[in-house]
């Protein structure tokens, strides 16, 4: 798949399949939380129409010749689209020792995968916008079409780090190949965008720096796919930053802290499903099959993870330093 050619039916189906897998996974993670199999849930249901195409378009691998990812905590779908095993978020939810992303240390949604240049997703809002500067510099200096991708929410753009990323990525003659993404769900935890932000579009803030920008309907798969592909193409070839703002839904509220109950916002999966039905790519039977396939698979994974061991208390000291185990002093 690339930007120029329209998506084939099989591509559309693959995207749909991933969106459904991701949604079912998130809903099951919420259920795990509600059943007491985990302490906290945060994730991305409502962002699938944007996140799956993003994952599909990432140049995946390790090192400077692959895209560097500085994502935020609603990115499970991005990683699933890249091929992550759905057992990973389940393990993180259950904080088992088998969690390969954080060893049971971090909240679910806080993934880390060096093999794919996925830098650790971390809770403090917006610090990813300054760490992205560094991988951006390294990739500016390296002959490659790989880029740095950073994502964050709308409310977090009020942190100075977002501004730092705009300043540093546009230094004259030293522009950085960074795709800056803002997923705008119109608010922070409980605070609505409209009460705190005078910017009509967050993306407008980049214009003063001469940065290319786009604002899209992130609930629309086709629009998202095309816009991401276009923005990536620009960054990959021009080696300059691009700010892409995507309006998205937040279907289960902020996190388990706010209840994680379903909210009546536009559902990008329902919308895409309608569209695929109309295009005769999907029918009622296959819809059911896809859902059942993923539900069963995820149920099986949860059952498995529930039997896995918890981290060893003595392990708290491990990896304070590189390759170090045990107490330091």
């Amino acid at each position: 798949m690339n930007a120029a050619t329209p998506l084939a039916s099989s591509d559309l189906l693959a995207i749909y399949d991933l969106m459904v897998q991701s949604r079912i996974l998130e809903e099951q993670l919420i259920k795990m939380f509600k059943q007491g199999h985990g302490f906290f849930w945060i994730g991305g249901p409502g962002e699938e129409a944007f996140n799956v195409p993003l994952g599909k378009l990432i140049k995946k691998g390790q090192g400077l010749d692959y895209d560097f990812l500085h994502l935020h905590y609603r990115s499970n779908a991005v990683l699933l689209a890249m091929g992550m095993d759905p057992v990973d978020p389940i393990r993180q939810m259950r904080n088992t020792a088998t969690d390969t992303h954080s060893g049971g240390r971090n909240f679910c949604g806080h993934l880390s995968k060096p093999e794919w240049n996925l830098t650790p997703i971390t809770s403090p809002i917006e610090v990813q916008y300054v760490t992205a500067i560094g991988t951006g510099i390294a990739q500016r200096d390296h002959k490659t079409d790989a880029i740095t991708i950073v994502t964050g929410g709308d409310a977090g753009t009020a942190e100075g780090d977002f501004a730092s990323c705009l300043v540093w990525s546009t230094r004259p003659g030293q522009e950085l190949p960074i795709l800056i993404i803002v997923t705008n769900n119109q608010g922070g935890i409980s605070t609505s965008y409209a009460t705190q932000h005078a910017e009509r579009h967050i993306a407008d803030r980049a214009k003063a720096f001469g940065m290319k920008t786009n604002v899209i309907d992130g609930n629309d798969v086709m629009e998202s796919y095309a816009a991401i592909a276009e923005a990536m193409h620009y960054v990959r070839t021009e080696r300059k930053p691009f700010l892409l703002e995507a309006n998205v839904s937040r279907l289960y509220g902020h996190s388990s802290a706010s209840g994680a109950n379903f909210q009546a916002e536009e559902d990008p999966i329902a919308r895409f499903r309608e569209c695929l039905i109309q295009q005769n790519v999907l029918d009622v039977t296959s819809i059911k099959e896809i859902e059942e396939k993923h539900t069963q698979a995820i149920h099986a994974l949860i059952s498995q993870v529930l039997t896995e061991r918890m981290p060893d208390p003595a392990s708290i000291f491990d990896y304070t330093y590189w390759q170090q185990k045990g107490r330091v002093m």
Partner: protein, 358 residues
């Protein structure tokens, strides 16, 4: 019987109606949420800020400069660390201007472990904060004193840091806040109905708090600790989440004949050295307990002071029990338990110090 969160809320209500508190602000502090721990629900001066901690602390400094009383909340102390320069600035403004400016402002932030908050909702802040001159720092460990210390902060002419141990936030105390409905179950229910915002969004939208009318200016003076339990064998000094654990450990050890005197420091700076010293002169042994990581920890300052002033009065080496020196508190139950003092480790440490007495 008020919870800690309710106590803070009532103190802020009292202050906004009687003490000129004009702004309570931070992320999600105003309607609809009233704070992630509900501590600011229903306040008429509470409002939501942009997601920007530096703006929040900066605004507090500016409001104080303009003569306005405010409480600025940082949602979790885990997110205060990009504002340390501003906290230092607030702490040095009176001094830098040779007494020209004063900054009566209060910053409130939840600290510590105990809610399975993982790496970024479990931090402590007492070590770094006590290293910043020019502030007064409090950390109440029960609802009544949470009320009284908030009022103390709001009447001080200096920057005050109000650390709120999140593990205790929905817990109740056993002493009544003057003016709250009765201390029993019924009183708790009544208070909940009066000042807790309903969870149901439809009810919440209409809701108005019904504040208890008898609230008073009950104040716990800054700088005074409190002996929570008397004992002759060892002095245990703590604050925040670990304080009730120290008390519990003392009660358990009493069964084994060890009588620990437990001091709630309540104010971290300027702290009540007289109370500590008097107690150590009686017990000749001391254990300091807190949950911040243990290197360059405030408890180490207290040990240094102890050694400096009471070296020859000690019959056992003074000890600190604190959090392990690791970069965070892991999410898994096993990890959190192993990372910071728990009832068992406190009990063990007390016994060990007492056992080591000459």
């Amino acid at each position: 019987m008020a919870t800690y969160a309710q106590a803070v809320r009532m103190a802020l209500h009292y202050a906004e109606t009687h003490l000129g508190l004009s702004h309570v602000f931070g992320q999600d502090v105003g309607a609809p949420l009233g704070g992630v721990f509900t501590a600011t629900q229903g306040l008429k001066t509470a409002w939501n800020t942009p997601l920007d901690e530096r703006g929040i602390i900066g605004a507090a400094i500016g409001l104080a400069m303009a003569g306005k009383r405010c409480v600025a909340e940082i949602q979790f102390c885990d997110y205060i660390f990009n504002t340390i320069d501003l906290l230092k600035l607030a702490g040095n403004t009176c001094w830098s201007s040779n007494g020209g400016w004063c900054l009566p402002m209060t910053v409130m932030t939840p600290v510590g472990s105990g809610i399975r908050g993982s790496i970024y909702h479990s931090h402590s802040f007492d070590a770094m904060m006590t290293h910043i001159p020019g502030w007064k720092i409090v950390m109440p460990s029960n609802p009544k004193e949470a009320y009284g210390l908030m009022l103390a902060c709001l009447q001080d002419q200096n920057p005050t840091m109000y650390l709120l141990p999140k593990a205790l936030i929905y817990g109740k105390g056993d002493e009544a806040i003057p003016g709250e409905p009765s201390l029993d179950q019924e009183g708790s229910k009544q208070l909940r109905e009066m000042i807790d915002k309903p969870v149901d969004p439809r009810l919440a939208a209409q809701w108005e708090p019904n504040w208890p009318t008898g609230l008073t200016d009950y104040t716990v003076p800054i700088g005074q600790g409190r002996i929570v339990r008397e004992g002759a064998d060892i002095t245990v000094v703590s604050y925040g989440r670990t304080l009730p654990l120290c008390v519990k450990a003392a009660h358990r050890l009493a069964e084994q004949g060890i009588e620990a005197e437990v001091i709630d420091l309540r104010t971290l700076w300027p702290y009540d050295w007289e109370l500590i010293a008097t107690s150590i002169l009686k017990t000749h042994a001391v254990l300091y307990v807190n949950e911040d990581t243990e290197v360059t920890n405030f408890g180490e300052h207290l040990i240094r002071r102890t050694v400096d002033e009471l070296f020859y009065d000690l019959l056992a080496k003074p000890r600190l029990l604190a959090g392990e020196f690791i970069p965070g508190i892991g999410l898994a139950h096993t990890l959190e338990q192993a990372s910071v003092p728990q009832l068992e480790t406190i009990e063990k440490a007390i016994s060990e110090v007492v056992a080591g007495k000459l």
